[in-house]
Assembly symmetry: C2
Homo-oligomer: 698 residues x 2
């Protein structure tokens, strides 16, 4: 009875290949009659049989057996969307919203324009509800932010190797123009815009391979501006084309490792300022830098720089620590850099320490935002290289900004539109590159200060920008005596926040392979270069995905006592196996060239091993399992190699009198099996659930 | 009642970030009491409550509610194997079998040695049952095979650019030594061993970049032998280390495309012999070769070669076609090459056509298998390059041999041990490289002839090898007048079998992206080079796997009428959605950095879209769904980014009063969620099935 239920010829002959071959060939044509035979025997009454097969739409759901009905459902799904449909969907989803907005604009020019402007400039929306109370808080936050920004901006400009003495650029501009643009276009309320350490390091480490910043500062600065322009262009394009997901390709673990490595590298770069060295190596890896420092220390360093720098570094770290312990004095670490700059400048001015070897900033050209349109170089021999650097800078800057924006938005419970953010950040960098600014983005430390100071809207960025602009206009001459060692201390004091040992430990605890990506990025940045570190991290991340996707695996299922639900026997030791039946779930999402063969061999091995096994012989005569049920519910897709393997598996099982049934195939899988005529070859033994397949056999 | 069942504080406050933060922090500690609260409320009697939580092993399966019991099962799985365990397992699986065999050998030296020898040399096993009847069939098959091999071997030697006139090597040896070795060690009964077109092409196209075969044939031949040695070494190592799965990384589609491209390239190479050209370009891409041919045709070709070659090509193709139509005359295409060689040699000898421009083979040095140990070069400047070529040749040769072996074995219903096959093929190439043979493997065309001729065991290979050896010893001088155009015709006549348009169409029909890999390999081989074609195919194949693995997707589930089973509403239009509940299945196998953010955003969008939706408002007040059930059954694994996204999803849903429940998490997923404390944060609302989650809510 049982084999007949499953619609299989009992005892297939083990004869010559030609026989078997014709047997299979014949089965393809027989398939329809076999399917109906399956229906017939498993139905309570066989009266409806022909009606079901010939006229599928009139199947009577109420009077037929549930298993039969479910089988009918499985075997007759609508066609799933093909790759073209998916591509079309994706493209239309991307451009439809642009297109619809444009249509709306055409229909109702006035309200359409207003709504479009509101989308592009969110300030027009939140500006309507803006109150004096809100402005008071924003003012306070903006002023606190400005006191942090002025010294930081000069510091990061030196990190980007933009020397304030030689280049006709006012680098603190980067804290003026980009925040203004962002305030009009961005959707985050807390983000603090400006230059950040990692992006500045990326700029200098990659551009100085093309042009020496010390030998040829003008050409170097032009390259920096051009890279900034490209970065902005890429960022805006990502946003417009809704490619926000690209930023996600830097995994969390990779970012943690990369940031940690970058912090160490940035710290080492600050030894130039802290030790008062005149020259510095252009390499960024630990070995080269330490070697260089070791050599230099014997010849030309000045102890006064070091004493001054490390005293203020101690001061900065203490205020930082106090601010963390007691959240009420959050303003202390925020204004500590400004205090350090003022104090140290005074000390140098009063003691004339610059005559005893203490390096000072000297002349910074004042005035606001000279246009730098003519500085952009698109026809240089490095054009391709510059665009590549722009792309890397764009991605890293976006990753930081969006991570910052998202974490604060989720604190306050509002939504950030990743694509809109990208357009805003892209525009601010494009405009920045035309007004003498280098690449800016959302900074972790500034956003934290902004948030702690109680900002309400992006207005705090406007306040900050105006304050910085005014200060620079009025007080730049006062910065003449500021010691460079102080700028190094300010950067150094911000670095511990980038090294997140705690998170690294968490990653280790939860996922060992993720930790490998993390440590790979860290060591890559440390010992080779910033780009290599990034590349290593991205590659390990994707290798991990690939490994997980193709890792072949099957698992043994058992029935939960008293239910129709099946689970893996290792995960659920209480699950009970059915005698004479091997229920196997395929553990991969994709049955493809890379794993299908392995899975096939493993299943055959299990079937062989079960011969004489306790579970299978309990209710049966000794021997192999009579039925193998493949639970396909985890399988998202299958390729031609996978189908070939299933066919081979079916053949080999048949040769030894074991039958093959499948349960719960997904949409794409059942569709491809049908296209490859596999369904008809196996006589339609495909069930909705493992339970129904078992019941049909028993 | 319902929210209490789910163990969630109703109406979470939408206050400041600090509040929410502390709320979550508090919840972590509360988790245990919450879980017990969950248990309590959903239990029929609360008497067992403390007993369940404090002493998990004594839980009474019979008296508790089934949903509660299932939840207990889900929440308390054993620890899954970590990456170390998996690695350890893999290594021990690889070496255990070797180790156990060695132990058995130590214990019982005599029987152990016999069984070990039997494993290494299967001929000792099947040789015991060998009968005269079997030998008769093998003899016939071996003789048929030999008549095909002699002309083929010389042909493929010219394809590998081993010129019989200038090099002190008898290249037809490749049809003598390797088949003998294979017959003793291999597990396939039908495979026919010898040089094959694609491997010969690979050899010549890659080695001639290092050494010009025409200018320096001795050095070139040395490289060929060294590459063959390395290929054998790699193949044997793959087998011993059980790395058979590496061969699977060439997907079926990629092989179809690659073979097709290689066939066209090989065909173009034959134009040298067919047109009687003296020199030929070393490039293999279509454009270069056609350009070269076009130039040469104007200057130095000889029409007699072409007439002779194409007449016999027509003869060969006709016999091939006849053999396919009528399987009884399978021997006709098998001996047709030999007939062609004999006839054409006679024609040239009688007409003295060689004096009118017909190129002939001239002197082939007779004698058997000169040792070539001293020809191997390991200290050349090309050593690394040679090893790389050896690796590529090894993989391609194995892919062909194993594909051939498997298909015939599955016809006859016996098992081929991939790893043992690799060791056998590796050894035969190592020994081959020491006895003047170039890389050999299992050939499609020879195996088909062998099978059709009714071979029983690998003995047919021995018969073939001895026949070839004798013929070469006795008749080589007769080959002096054999025209080279005939060798080209013989190769050309075998090429149509390599271009499988039918299979390419099948691939197109079933899987469009697989077809892309196929056409990529084809075009890469055709227009760039053989290696690039392979690389393109492998890369497209893996990119496809990667795309499938991270392609973010969620699908809407509904309940099958009258059951507890849920299915995707698009695949099963008869599935019914539950009002007020959004049941979503994650469609990826991995919730990771590359897709978790997208999936999170998509779920939130669906929740927003459902506001006022028909399905959700049916049984409820207007508004958002009250509960989101995530079916995690497809999710094999999760990484730290994925967990972070789930946490964010949970937070955001809570802010709007929607709850989150999860159903059927897999072993690795639930374990990582527990490690990351996610389970305790959500208050343990994890169910075994979607149905139970829905029932708990209703």
């Amino acid at each position: 009875m049982a084999p007949a239920v499953l619609g299989i010829n009992p005892a297939p002959s083990c004869g010559s290949a030609a026989n078997i071959n014709s047997h299979f060939a014949g089965e393809t044509e027989l398939s329809n009659s076999k399917f109906s035979q399956t229906l017939q025997t498993s139905m309570p009454s066989s009266a409806h049989q022909t009606r079901i097969v010939t006229d599928e739409t009139t199947i009577d759901l109420e009077t037929n057996g549930p298993a039969l009905r479910a089988q009918h459902w499985v075997m007759n799904p609508p066609r799933p969307p093909g790759p073209w449909d998916e591509l079309k969907n994706m493209v239309s989803e991307t451009f439809l919203s642009h297109g619809e907005k444009f249509k709306a604009l055409m229909k109702q020019p006035v309200s359409g324009t207003i709504s479009m402007l509101g989308t592009l400039f969110p300030i027009l929306v939140w500006g309507r509800d803006y109150t004096v109370a809100k402005f008071k808080r924003d003012l306070l936050a903006g002023l606190t932010l400005a006191s942090l920004c002025i010294p930081q901006s000069i510091g990061y400009a030196t990190l980007a190797k933009l020397d304030p003495q030689t280049v006709n650029l006012l680098h603190s501009d980067t804290s003026v123009v980009p925040p203004l643009i962002y305030a009009f276009m961005g959707t985050s309320r807390e983000i603090g815009i400006g230059p950040v350490a990692v992006v500045s390091l990326l700029l200098s480490s990659m551009i100085q391979k093309l042009e020496d910043p010390e030998a040829n500062p003008v050409a170097y600065t032009r390259l920096v501006l051009t890279v900034t322009f490209f970065a902005g262009l890429f960022q805006a394009a990502f946003g417009f084309l809704r490619l926000g997901f690209l930023v996600d390709f830097l995994s969390h673990a990779a970012i943690v490792g990369f940031m940690g490595g970058a912090a160490v590298v940035i710290g080492l770069q600050q030894l130039k300022g802290l030790l008062g060295l005149t020259h510095f190596t252009v390499k960024t890896d630990v070995v080269s830098v330490l070697e260089f420092i070791f050599k230099s220390v014997h010849s030309s360093w000045s102890p006064y720089n070091f004493i001054l720098g490390s005293s203020f570094l101690t001061f900065l770290l203490i205020t930082r620590f106090m601010g963390k312990r007691n959240r009420k004095i959050f303003w202390l670490p925020a204004i500590a850099p400004l205090i350090s700059v003022i104090l140290s400048t005074l000390i140098v001015f009063l003691t004339r320490a610059d005559e005893h070897g203490v390096k000072i900033v000297k002349h910074i050209k004042g005035g606001l935002n000279p246009s730098s349109i003519h500085e952009l170089q698109f026809d240089s021999p490095h054009a391709a290289e510059v665009a590549k650097i722009g792309l890397i800078v764009a991605v890293i800057a976006l990753a930081e900004a969006i991570a910052v924006g998202r974490s604060f938005a989720s604190f306050k419970g509002y939504h950030i539109d990743g694509n809109k953010e990208m357009v805003a950040i892209g525009f601010m960098n494009i405009v920045g590159s035309l007004t003498s600014c280098f690449a800016a983005t959302g900074s972790f430390s500034r956003s934290a200060v902004n948030f702690s100071a109680g900002c309400e809207t992006a207005m705090s960025n406007i306040v900050m920008a105006i304050t910085v602009a005014l200060s620079l206009e009025l007080f730049t001459r006062l910065l003449y005596y500021t010691p460079i060692a102080i700028l190094a201390s300010i950067i150094l004091s911000a670095l511990p926040g980038l090294i997140d040992l705690n998170e690294a430990y968490n990653i280790w605890k939860v996922d060992k392979l993720d930790f490998l990506a993390c440590i790979g990025a860290f060591l890559g940045v440390l010992f080779v270069s910033v780009e290599i570190g990034l590349l290593v991290a991205v590659m390990i991340s994707f290798a991990k995905v690939l490994l997980n996707a193709i890792k072949p695996g099957i698992e043994d299922l058992g029935r939960f006592p008293g239910t129709d639900v099946f689970g893996e026997v290792n995960q659920y030791p209480m699950a009970i196996k059915t005698p004479g039946i091997l229920t196997i779930r395929i553990k991969s999402a994709l049955l493809c060239f890379a794993n299908s063969n392995f899975i096939k061999e493993r299943i055959l091995k299990w079937v062989d091993d079960k011969e004489g096994d306790e579970d299978c012989t309990k209710g049966n005569a000794k021997g192999r399992p009579k039925l193998v049920i493949l639970d396909m519910s985890s399988l998202m897709n299958i390729d031609t190699s996978g189908i070939a393997s299933l066919e081979e598996l079916h053949k080999k099982l048949m040769l030894h009198g074991t039958e093959l049934a499948m349960a719960n195939p997904r949409w794409q899988v059942i569709d491809k099996l049908r296209l490859a005529n596999f369904v008809s070859k196996t006589g339609g033994r495909i069930f909705l659930t493992v339970g129904e397949a078992v019941d049909a056999f028993l």
